[in-house]
Symmetry: C2
Subunit: 336 residues, 2 copies
């Protein structure tokens, strides 16, 4: 992410903002200059199992370091945008729950960070941030409506309607991963069963591969995982599939079929111009998106299925970070 | 529907409009005066099996009769609003397909009607019309966002976002009945499998009851249907359930459970303030809505589940008709 984002160039005279993307696995913090330059960038692990108090401490340390590294003082920063993989109450500034952040219940994350820096803090869901990023500066520029889906450990989403981010009544809309597509299906991280996330996420791909290996199916994944089936993850599946492993390809095909069913429901409900599929698992590319598109077309009505374009993000893994920065700017200018 | 709608009283000086609600079973046509009075109202069967040409002829005859019956001439009418149970291409004025209207493929319904009357004709999906009706003049007045669901032969939907009807890119959004909730589930009228409609519509309730009766389960439904299981419909199930029939109650409970799963997906995706459940099957009332609410809460995240109110329509079975009239007025004033 060495580039400058054109939107930020438009706001050249503005102060820098801090953007933080908080996922179940990693936290990325960056300071964006008023001219769009990335002034600093820090990557660290979330270590979510340590619980919210420690993660918040780590967040505050990292934000402090990112400001230092950018050669700035707190007072030179306009605000902080947080994109969190969580069910957010946007009106009360609360992380209410988070399937991939254990023990986060009603955590007032923005206040806990604002208190440390004395800066305005704006929080939104990470996939909503990515939707905003891609709409303003990425693959969806100029569109009226689009859906962003992140397929990684879990599955998240963001919705743009009439050119604006749609947050819903409380700010927790677009939990696309938790559409039930298979009544009484596999257990999901959210505590329920048969959600799209339990069938098409990276976690699901790893689980399906391990189950089939345990049933004795042949595959190079066994060797790739050092003969320990429990070590097989979606990354192992992707590696094996790229080399033509039949079982790995079939597992991805199955997950893509479920993803396509979820896409079809979204297409039937929202009739969007575009669906952008990001997240680590989407880097499988055509291997995943090809059969997902086919499954979507088989399960949706012809008219909306022929309209929607299903594409990869233009901002790659930075969509959420760029969206969080844009959100901080947008909200800051509203309240200023 | 003897009343006057307050919105129409606001437009007292305006010309009358014709509204038509075209369902898979029946067609209701009404003329609304500029002062909101219902000047005439005609009910007829759709007889959809006769195919689109005959249904269009019947529609034109009925609209003509409704105008006559209201004591008006064509030139005294401002326009015609059509609410159709179909997948509509709103930009091209096409009924593209319709699960419950056999052989309707790319029918230019508005032109076929406009040609007969030389009046502007505005078409939208029937459940979207009902959503608009309930939002402007019914249970959802003043709300920012809501979802209307009709549960009858099929399941349809309408979405209001930011106080406006959300039609999607082509005008075919809100096909809520065709979310897949059970991969490889029962066959649906749309040609696919496991859609919400195939598990929670009136058609599904009838089918589930017949299947269980055929398996030999005891029930008063057998007698109610003159000992011919094939005659059992969702109406038979409702009658038996009201008298405490255990099998009938269990079938409704099962369908309500599926309905709740569909509601939960909508609540997770759109985080609405309200969901209004109309349509013939919804007249089962608490028997259906009680377990549907419970199932929704079990399958949705806590925050959006606690926000959403699930209610019956205020306009009853007339929501679509009133919405179609309102839509004709709204579009007429835009193009005037």
């Amino acid at each position: 992410m060495a580039g400058r984002w054109s939107w930020m160039q438009m706001a050249r005279s503005e102060k820098p903002v801090v953007a933080v993307d908080i996922g179940g696995t990693k936290i990325i913090t960056a300071v964006f200059g008023g001219d769009g330059a990335v002034l600093s960038r820090i990557y660290c692990l979330t270590l979510a199992h340590e619980g919210p108090a420690r993660v918040v401490r780590r967040l505050n340390e990292t934000i402090g370091r990112a400001i230092d590294k950018a050669g700035l003082k707190k007072s030179q920063v306009a605000g902080i945008g947080l994109a969190a993989a969580a069910i957010i109450d946007i009106n009360r500034g609360l992380v209410t729950e988070a399937p991939n952040l254990p023990r986060w219940h009603n955590v007032k994350l923005p206040s806990l960070i604002a208190g440390e820096f004395n800066l305005p803090v704006y929080m939104l869901n990470d996939a909503s941030a990515a939707a905003l990023g891609e709409h303003r500066y990425g693959a969806g520029r100029g569109l009226n409506n689009l859906i962003y889906i992140t397929v990684s450990t879990g599955i998240g989403g963001g919705i743009v309607i009439d050119g604006e981010l749609y947050n819903g009544t409380d700010g927790c809309a677009a939990e696309i991963g938790h559409m039930v597509i298979m009544v009484d299906g596999p257990a999901c991280n959210c505590g329920r069963r048969g959600c799209l996330e339990s069938l098409a996420s990276g976690t699901a791909i790893g689980r399906m591969a391990r189950e089939r290996l345990a049933h004795g199916e042949k595959s190079t994944m066994r060797t790739l995982a050092g003969n320990n089936i429990e070590e097989v993850t979606s990354k192992t599946v992707a590696r094996a599939a790229r080399k033509g492993d039949v079982l790995a390809l079939d597992v991805i095909h199955t997950a893509a079929g479920y993803l396509g069913i979820g896409l079809a429901s979204l297409v039937n409900i929202l009739n969007p111009q575009m669906i952008i599929i990001g997240g680590g698992v989407s880097s499988m590319g055509a291997m995943l998106l090809g059969p997902a598109r086919k499954s979507m077309k088989a399960h949706a009505f012809k008219l909306p299925a022929s309209t929607v374009r299903i594409v990869r993000p233009a901002l790659g893994m930075d969509a959420g970070l760029v969206g969080a920065a844009g959100y901080a700017r947008q909200m800051g200018s509203k309240t200023a």
